[in-house]
Symmetry: C2
Subunit: 776 residues, 2 copies
């Protein structure tokens, strides 16, 4: 299969243009390495204008050296080709713990000083640059939001390639260079991500250039991919649909210039391939899925660092992972070794006496926003255009014939999403793990299709090269793609079965933390919110069983900062429309919407739904039995479509059986309204809460999820002791919807019994009714 | 690379032995298909002894047909080779929604009726078998714990291969046949799992035979792997280190006997390969990593089902996924088509008039526990031997010179785990995502190594073919391997960084649900508990940043049933030893232990730690300032190593500054003690709780995780309103440990201020002290 490697692509090395010489690239690389080591070790004396002394060394040595030299090498070379070809490139550093490298390059290209004026391009700036790294009050050790040019932290490993593909979608002129750690490549998400080339449309999407850094090791072990025969490794990547090229260098003391030469050639060829693929698709209308190029850069871990420390080999072993010389402040030998190590980069050739990068190396700086650290795609809010949102009316459910018109909420939403897709053809996408139709959003296929570059058969439906719906059976991939898409300034929605959204708990965590930290970074512009639509939820798993019943994502989400997370439980189709349109307008949040797909009653007109949505929660007086001027006896509250229906049914029974009872009926669509206003921006004030839920009447709360969540959110409320919550109690199986409610004590009869039990006078006077309910 | 496919293995088809003819295998397959369709559709008339009537059809049609015929085919063929070679085989059905198929085969081989005596091998038994499926009060639609022979539910897709490898470890005579869905193969965990062949030691582990069912589709889409050229697919699997063989059949009306013939040959070759690989390793001492066989079975989705329904193609399209004929009860045409479909299996050739499988087909039943549905490995508790647990004394930290001796708790545990490994060389393993040493458990390498079948270099350490430690940079893989290992009757521990354990939230959910349901299945025997050790925790992320700070797994865990989950927060090394030894003895739980790895004081002698562990939480009177015979003024409680240290320091300050204050000091090691005894088996009774935490005194609680969890657990306690919790508030970065405490208000000074604020008399009298604390 050796042809697949180069199928119709450039095969002979392109002559290396002289614009930026490889000597300059090497100088840049040495400068970046120097700055990286400086950040890990130095408190002072940044240019080593005097011999290093113990006092120049940080008291705690933190950071990761091993991954850094390869990250720096790739950066230096990318600058060169950006200049040469006027490319638009962003850089994703899979092993984000190479943070010092990313910072070093951003500093070298001038971006860092532009964004952080105190870190100037001089000796004092260098000193501060070094000091701030992994230092209290300074910057984190990963490629965090504070790092210019980064959309990928890389703290939790595995998401680089999926982020890269998300960034490339609908960005036809962008090249996403993505360095992948060979350890990172063992993670589940990364192993699945390679296949994402099956979505990339060379005509309308940008390119992803994965660069696997085979540095041989992870923290304490060799990596799988570094210890299989080269032939096997190449087969793996051809099997994944790439045309891999391998560059090895830096071993056994080989001159780095040799590696530069080989890597430059391979990079040229890869970029030629990308250009050819895109030309074929864009000019010649080629539609056969191409074999995209992929580079494998095999270099020693911790290359150019100490070879042996305390008698043990370090370079090219796992020992190079973090800080190779650990005792520099105390151990004069280590100090001398550090001095030699830093000097090996010949800093005097790199920086002038004032600490400025020498002019000879500045030629490797791309201009303005072509610098990868300044590229606006990596600060997507800069490029984000708000969506054109169609009105809700044309999709709203008409209830003019009376409340209760049946509709499938997510199907109604699908109609509106179709219109959103029509009006926003280039910057809005729908993602799902093979569940878009199952979740009944399939009206979107009226105007677009599912992206698919593979073979298409006559029996297939809704597959096309430029479809805007992405379906792959991996929640991790759909999550990561949307993250990459949003962080580069676009919009989207991820629909999933409720239970399996836990597959991405950890990715959600990392994304929420990213947003949280980004808010403190002045130059980062807000991006569109991440929108989850969770359907096929716990109460309607008629087809499946216990494994498909889990509403716990909400609990997971509320652990993140209140400034980031929003949870919505629209009770009907119109409320869902209002909620979705609100969410698609919002910025910098993670919105979680839980909605049903089964036919269910529409309670509110679209106007009422708007008013209800604006309030977040409100009294539905038509559903209760309150009388103006009188205190209610009990509050029946609900959140979620199925609980709302049960709560309404319970009130119906109560109305008939205990006509004198005054029931206040409250529906909650914006769950965070329950929390106190001091804890969540959406929270009701204490007074407002008491006015609605009363300071002292029993509240029977029918809740979609685990009951503990409502207690958690209302824990500081005056009436908290009196709030009695029914919800999912982790009892389930394949059974009827009503049986599920019974198993979990959320059915209408149980709610009636709760009311009887909790309203003081009723327990004694309505025992027979309670007994009757129990029999149901 | 075409040789890699068959490297040194049998290449010519072995002649098919006549013991069980392929006609019999085909009969078995038809019978299994018949029973599968029957389960999906039939309420009555199981043998179709009269024409089907609407009343024979279930009112709600639920289930998944598409995946079933291939699952059944593989089962039928495996029976044949088990008989022929006397193999010990378990079967894992990746697409577990093929539940009806697994049940059908278990019924055909007799196991089902042995375990469920009401489902007898006769007409009435058949009727009940059909009726119970996906029926209220019946059995779930997936290969659930109720399904004989299953250790893998397959509801949430992606874990089949990793479970298979977990089952094969240290089971030298076992063959784990693992059918993988081509949709399932897109999931992250599955894509990573193929590489697990790098751990399998052919000398001491069993074999995994993956069988990828390329049926072309998932729910509503083609699968990636079905739409790449065959050459690319084969390269992919060779790149993953397998020797793949592809069998295609069943298309365009081809006679199934042709497929039987081809599949039987491929299966023979694969088993020959396995035998040869094991012989090479076991007899000839071969140590080169072998290319294990892998089968690709390409068949139409929903093969043998309706070809066209309502004018739309069904067989061999995604439409075959669930119930192909949806309107059978209402639509006479559909009813007739169902009749024809069922008749196509020629039931009268399969079952006698009484409903018993005909004798000619019974020859394809392996004997006794060789039947895959009866194989004891799939009911691991049957085989489980308790661990020989070494005493704790030899590893305990000696505090006879006074409390506070510094120790790294996980390192101390590592010493004891080394001894556990020594005494239990064949049924205990340690799993970690490249973090065993980072989490300081590396003393285990004194007696074993890390499993590694790849290339080994002279600089490597602790790698060996038969190492009992498994390290791969994927929490999903380590989780799944341990699940497979436990469910087949062995023991283990998974250590992870605390933050990244969320990567497996969903796998934890599914595993906990499996245990939960298993407890209701009479014939399932208890298995050893799943033990998590979470270290490198939120309070000591000195090297990393915010992305590494997340103690929320505990919140996630408590959503699962109380009968399953246990959480421990030992405050020192000796408590950790006691906890670990308790956990390794326990059965059917998921135990979560959070422990530090940094040097920290040892508070308790090993005997005290035992007493404390037995109590779960207790008053440390030496740490408080209580006076016998007097009520305390305040309770200072704590859980977790860092919070315990802060709480102790706070009490020290209080002792000095407010000598008259009576502080009760309580440490919690078993977190579930906080919950009420009616909610959790470990819960304290209300009286016991009140006796310790008082009914009315302020409680200042220093907690390891998010504060809401303590409120959640103590929510029903008399004194709940008075419990004030400090913990992680989602504030973090790369900073010093103490700064982390300050950022989250968990530092000693804040705790002192809390005491002053909450103890009635102090707020007015100790304002200056409070102010001083605030200045710190
Ligand atoms: C999901 C996850 N698990 C574990 C870790 C801990 N960890 C940090 S770096 C590292 C090794 C990374 O190896 P590799 O990707 O090869 O990067 P390198 O440093 O070699 O470039 C590990 C396991 C992590 N960051 N994320
Ligand atoms: C993690 C996860 N996401 C989504 C689903 C929903 N789902 C159920 S079956 C299925 C398709 C499975 O396709 P495949 O593995 O090819 O099985 P088969 O074709 O044999 O039915 C999907 C997406 C799931 N069960 N698990
Ligand atoms: Mg590496
Ligand atoms: Mg399939």
């Amino acid at each position: 299969y050796s042809e697949t490697m180069t199928q119709g692509r450039a095969t002979t090395p392109v002559s290396v243009p002289e614009s930026v010489s490889l000597a300059v690239v090497d100088g840049w690389w040495r400068a970046a390495n120097y700055l990286s080591v400086g950040q890990i070790y130095l408190l002072d004396n940044p240019l080593m204008q005097r011999p290093l002394a113990a006092a120049d060394i940080k008291p705690r040595l933190l950071g990761h050296w091993g991954t850094t030299p390869a990250l720096n090498l790739v950066y230096a070379h990318l600058n060169r080709v950006i200049l040469q070809r006027d490319l638009d490139v962003i850089y994703i550093a899979g092993p984000g713990h190479g943070g010092p490298g990313m910072v070093a390059n951003g500093y070298l290209d001038g971006t860092y000083s532009e964004l952080y004026s105190d870190i100037s391009e001089d000796r004092e700036g260098l000193r501060k640059l070094f000091r701030q790294f992994s230092f209290p009050g300074g910057i984190p050790s990963h490629a965090s939001p504070e790092t210019p040019g980064s959309i990928h932290e890389g703290g939790e490993l595995g998401y680089s390639v999926v982020h890269a593909y998300g960034a490339a979608l609908d960005n036809p002129d962008l090249v996403v260079a993505c360095v992948v750690g060979d350890g990172e490549a063992e993670t589940a998400t990364l192993a699945a991500s390679w296949h994402l080339n099956k979505f990339l449309n060379p005509a309308t999407d940008g390119a992803v250039l994965p660069i696997l850094n085979l540095n041989g090791y992870k923290i304490a072990n060799p990596s799988f991919l570094a210890r299989i025969p080269e032939a096997e490794l190449l087969e793996l990547f051809r099997g994944y649909g790439y045309s891999p090229r391998m560059v090895a260098g830096g071993f056994d003391g080989e001159d780095p210039m040799k590696t530069h030469q080989r890597f430059a050639e391979a990079l040229e060829l890869a970029l030629d391939d990308i250009a050819a693929i895109q030309k074929d698709a864009r000019e010649a209308g080629q539609t056969v899925r191409p074999m995209w190029p992929l580079l494998i850069l095999k270099t020693p871990k911790g290359w150019t660092g100490p070879k042996v420390v305390d008698g043990l080999p370090v370079e090219n072993t796992w020992r190079a992972h973090q800080v190779p010389l650990a005792g520099v402040r105390q151990n004069p030998e280590h100090l001398a070794e550090l001095q030699a190590w830093l000097e090996s980069y010949r800093p005097d050739e790199l920086f002038d006496a004032e600490g400025k990068l020498v002019a000879e190396l500045q030629v490797n700086r791309p201009l303005g926003s072509r610098r990868m650290s300044s590229n606006p795609h990596a600060n997507g809010g800069l490029l984000m255009k708000s969506l054109c949102l169609p009105t809700l009316e044309s999709n709203a459910v008409d209830i003019s014939d009376g409340r209760g018109a049946l509709a499938e909420p997510t199907r109604v939403l699908g109609g509106w999403l179709r219109d959103v897709l029509t009006e926003n053809p280039d910057n809005f996408r729908v993602f799902g793990p093979d569940e878009t139709a199952s979740n009944r959003l399939d009206d979107v296929y009226d105007v677009t299709a599912k992206a698919w570059q593979g073979e298409v058969l006559p029996t297939d439906e809704n597959l096309s090269h430029d479809g805007k719906v992405i379906e792959v059976l991996s929640e991790n991939l759909t999550q990561g793609l949307l993250e990459g898409y949003l962080l580069t300034g676009r919009h989207g929605l991820f629909s999933s079965y409720e239970a399996f959204i836990h597959v991405v708990d950890s990715m959600f965590n990392q994304y929420a933390k990213w947003l949280d930290s980004s808010a403190d970074v002045e130059w980062r512009r807000p991006v569109a919110s991440f929108n989850y639509l969770l359907s096929s939820h716990v109460w309607r798993q008629d087809h499946n069983g216990f494994s498909h019943q889990d509403p716990g994502f909400l609990d997971h989400v509320v652990n993140k900062r209140a400034s980031i997370v929003r949870i919505y439980l629209p009770a009907d189709a119109n409320s869902l429309l209002v909620t979705a349109s609100h969410c698609l307008r919002s910025k910098n949040y993670v919105n979680v919407i839980v909605a049903g797909k089964q036919p269910s009653p529409t309670f509110l007109s679209i106007d009422e739904a708007r008013a209800h949505g604006a309030r977040g929660l409100s009294i539905w007086d038509w559903a209760g039995t309150e009388v103006a001027g009188e205190e209610p006896d009990v509050v029946v509250a609900c959140a979620g479509d199925v609980p709302t229906l049960e709560a309404m049914a319970a009130v119906q029974i109560l109305k008939k059986e205990i006509p004198e009872l005054r029931v206040r009926f409250i529906n909650v669509v914006d769950l965070m309204r329950l929390q106190d206003s001091t804890e969540h921006p959406h929270g009701l004030t204490s007074d407002a809460f008491d006015a609605l839920f009363t300071p002292d009447k029993p509240v029977i709360f029918a809740f979609h999820g685990y009951p503990a969540l409502v207690h958690r959110l209302t824990y500081r409320r005056t009436n908290h002791r009196n709030i009695h919550v029914r919800g999912f109690n982790e009892r389930g199986t394949t059974t009827t919807p009503f049986d599920m409610l019974m198993m979990n004590d959320l059915d209408r009869y149980r709610l009636v019994m709760d009311v009887i039990r909790r309203v003081p006078k009723l327990e004694k006077t309505y025992a027979p009714l309670s007994q009757r309910m129990d029999d149901e």
